[in-house]
Amino acid sequence: MRWRPGLRAAVILGMFLGMPGVPAAGGLGAESFVLANGMRVVAVPMERPGVVHHAVYYAFGAADDPPGQSGMAHFIEHLMFNGTASTEEGEYKQIIGRNGGSTNAYTAADVTAYYATIARDRLETVMRLEADRMTGVVFEADNFEAERQVILEERLQRTENSPSGLFREQLRAASWQAHPYGRPLIGWRHEIEALTQEQVEAYYRRHYGPTNALLVVAGDIDAESLRPLAERTFGAVPAVGEPVPQRPAEPPHRARVTVEMEDPRVVRPRWSRQYRAKGYFSGAERESATLDVLAAVLGGASGRLRRALVVDRKIALSAGAYFDGDSRDGGFFLVYAMPTDDTDIVDLEAAVNAELERVADDGVTQREVERAAYRFAAGEIYARDDVSGTADFVGRTLVKGGTLEDIDGYIALVRSITAADVVGAARNLLADPITITGILRPESAE
């Protein structure tokens, strides 16, 4: 649970195919191979002499937690640092630290990731430790209960202590009727409290292993030198790891949903509206790229929503748009705004809608589309400056069913989106009446 949202805007990799005036990063040059036990390995060579980022991705996340046992994957994430048959509690971090490395992990809905950044000549140390805890975690009662308390503190800190944290959780829960995306990644409090050591250990033994894992190493590395290291370490782990059960599918939504919450600690109201969208991993690459461009036209510092609502009409303190299209089973196109003191939510909503209609009716300019494409292409080059971000983007993409070719082709795809495509996307959104609206506001004075 460490990764920031909005990954696509920050970390975009790919290959540009030769349009004038747009910077080109060239292909990623990543190479992939598979170990005898089924574990896939990817090397991403980057210009970072002496440094590597090492990350193992498991092909399941919080959305795969068993029914009634939300928080399972996140609980295991914590326990992964608490010792194996061959390392003491906390020793994993100590060994990495003594070698100058830094390490962490996160749990997302579709994937769980365990990573470290370390000097190239210490890479094998990390690989041995990571391979060891893939199947070797030791479960122990005192340790398990202490970690449960830490997790409950984490939940208090991230969610329960803040009205916006609680509201995010409520909005997420209301956005999915059957699919487990509706559950909090960290888990519901009562389910975290009820998880038993036996349940957690059984889940770990069943699913954690090479066949469910992907290794990405980025930086001062190539496939040829990575292969023998991977064979010596992860290659020695038996081919275990059952696939997780298929997730419940989301039925069509028939009703508009509005989620409203009041809290005395909220100072300004916040409004958002979500439109259901398929996303990159549901076979809708072109539609997704179009929504990325639409979000860039509407959102951001020079976007239409900020200009119209914040600068010109002065009815909002902030306004923007975002496409959440990186989830395996679909996502949302999102518009949001925070009203000024004397603005009614109804008027704010109408003003946001009017901007969407303006795109649908009057179109977008060539400059707006080009600006978006230029920024995505530049973002791809900026991302190459960041070894861990690059590794993470590759890992998340592949583990959700994307390919290295998808990554290398992304900028070309964005470049192919026309102003007419963007208009079509805005019309589709407006034609869908089944939206989810979120309103968080101060407790009224009465």
């Binding site: 906390g90 630290g97 100058g100 208090l156 800190q157 909220v266 600068v311 230029y374 190459r384 400056d385």
Partner: protein, 440 residues
């Protein structure tokens, strides 16, 4: 600093440039670049990506805001990219976005810190825009009113956030009405009262070359950087250094409880710290790394989180504040555990003050601190920022080479001595924000 025009860009490669073998491989030496108009920058060139990063710092931040004008530094900094030179706010943002140029300036307590991040093909345009922002900010009515509303919204929201409330109260307890004690984000009255003339005067007084430090990294050579420096900073007045008189913090063991109806109590604690140029800085740095900020599992993490499950996070850091260096820590724990957590932290501080570190802790910490240092400087923007810090703190151009040696040289006796000097447990100032008072 000023040089004749004929010298153009003076690049002191050869004699002053020093290779920085502290980094993982063999990067280019740091070059000292002086522009025709006399602005100096340290540059580490790296052409592996077509990116240029500039970091810059003007000495003097929110602590310079006069009583009644709290928030002025933040207000002024937030307006620099909201219209400058020939461009109004919308046009300025469009110029940045058209070329994917990242420009930001923010106000800390002691400085205005900025970054410019661009593809090298746009570096001249980026420098021109930065030059407009610093020398010709417009402070048009629309953005001034809008940013005022936004700062007021942030200020009001922060009053409901336990972490912000706890920190603000802590600084006010320690520094009273002094420059560090007043709210750097402003008060409702001060934000309402700051006018365009105040903003303009703050920009003219504070954005001056006499207070400026610049670092650059990435795909740019010394001659091109010299031109960039003059485009970005050449139109600024020379000015002079701000008055940053040292402050005496009031550390007499105050423990203050602030009621707030939340399930998890926020705890802020701290003591006087150590200046960056103090002879004991490195022993103190190693000590703090083991105590609460740096090594993989600090003493506080082990006792509070690992052994007792009292918190998800607990940390301490040495705040290199110009007028009064500090050692500050924070954690949060469920309401019922706040008293126990305070007791555990106090016990760790007392024990560490008395015993210092074990030989094994010291050795492990040195290995972590020296090994992770080159890995941390892993992007052009981080390198540019570090080059600014090296200059600001007078570390010398060969610091990257010397730094790990300074860490290695720290002895267990030095750590014990500095622990006794810094960790005066009964002077420690505490603030708790939550449902119940944890202090006995």
């Amino acid at each position: 600093m000023r040089r004749g025009q004929t010298l153009a860009a003076i690049v002191l490669a050869g004699s002053l440039a020093v290779p920085c073998s502290g980094a993982a491989a063999d990067p280019a030496p740091i070059e000292v670049v002086v522009s025709p108009q006399g602005t100096e920058a340290w540059l580490r060139r790296d052409s592996s990506l077509p990116i240029v990063s500039l970091a810059f710092r003007f000495a003097g931040g929110a602590a310079l805001d006069a009583p009644g004008q709290e928030g002025l530094a933040q207000f002024m900094a937030a307006l620099l990219d909201e219209g400058a030179g020939p461009y109004d706010s919308v046009a300025f943002r469009e110029r940045l976005d058209d070329r994917a140029i990242g420009l930001s300036v923010s106000a800390g307590r002691d400085s205005l810190f900025g970054t410019l991040h661009t593809l090298s093909e746009n570096v001249v345009e980026a420098a021109e825009l930065l030059g407009h922002a610093l020398a010709r900010p417009r402070f048009d009515d629309e953005p001034v009113g809008r940013i005022r509303s936004q700062l007021e919204a942030v200020r009001a929201q922060n009053e409901t956030r336990p972490g912000s409330v706890g920190r603000a109260r802590w600084f006010s307890l320690v520094f009273g009405d002094g420059p560090y004690g007043r709210p750097s984000g402003g008060t409702q009255a001060s934000l309402a009262g700051i006018g365009v003339e105040d903003l303009r005067a703050a920009a003219e007084d504070r954005l001056v070359r006499g207070r400026l430090t610049v670092g650059a990294a990435g795909d740019i050579d010394a001659a091109a950087l010299a031109r960039v420096l003059d485009l970005a900073f050449g139109d600024l007045a020379i000015g002079d250094l701000p008055d940053e008189t040292p402050e005496n913090g009031n550390f007499v063991g105050q423990r203050v409880y602030v009621p707030m109806d939340i399930p998890q109590t926020e705890l802020v604690f701290g003591l006087s710290g150590i200046a960056r140029d103090d002879a004991d800085f490195f022993p103190a740095f190693v000590l703090n790394s083991v105590l609460g900020g740096g090594v993989p599992e600090t003493r506080l993490e082990r006792e509070v989180r690992g052994k007792r499950g009292l918190a998800y996070s607990i940390y301490t850091y040495l705040a290199d504040a110009k007028r009064a260096p500090l050692l500050i820590g924070a954690t949060s724990t469920r309401d019922q555990s706040a008293g126990e957590t305070v007791a555990v932290v106090r016990d760790v501080i007392r024990r560490t003050a008395a015993e210092g570190l074990s030989a094994e802790e010291l050795a492990d910490a040195k290995r972590y601190i020296t090994g992770s240092f080159p890995l941390a400087l892993d992007s052009t923007s981080e390198i540019a920022g570090f080059l600014v810090a090296m200059q600001t703190n007078d570390l010398g151009i060969d610091y990257l080479d010397r730094r790990n040696g300074l860490v290695e040289a720290v002895t267990i006796e030095e750590v014990r001595r500095v622990a006794g000097r810094l960790l005066v447990e009964d002077a420690m100032v505490w603030v708790a924000v939550g449902r119940t008072d944890p202090f006995p």
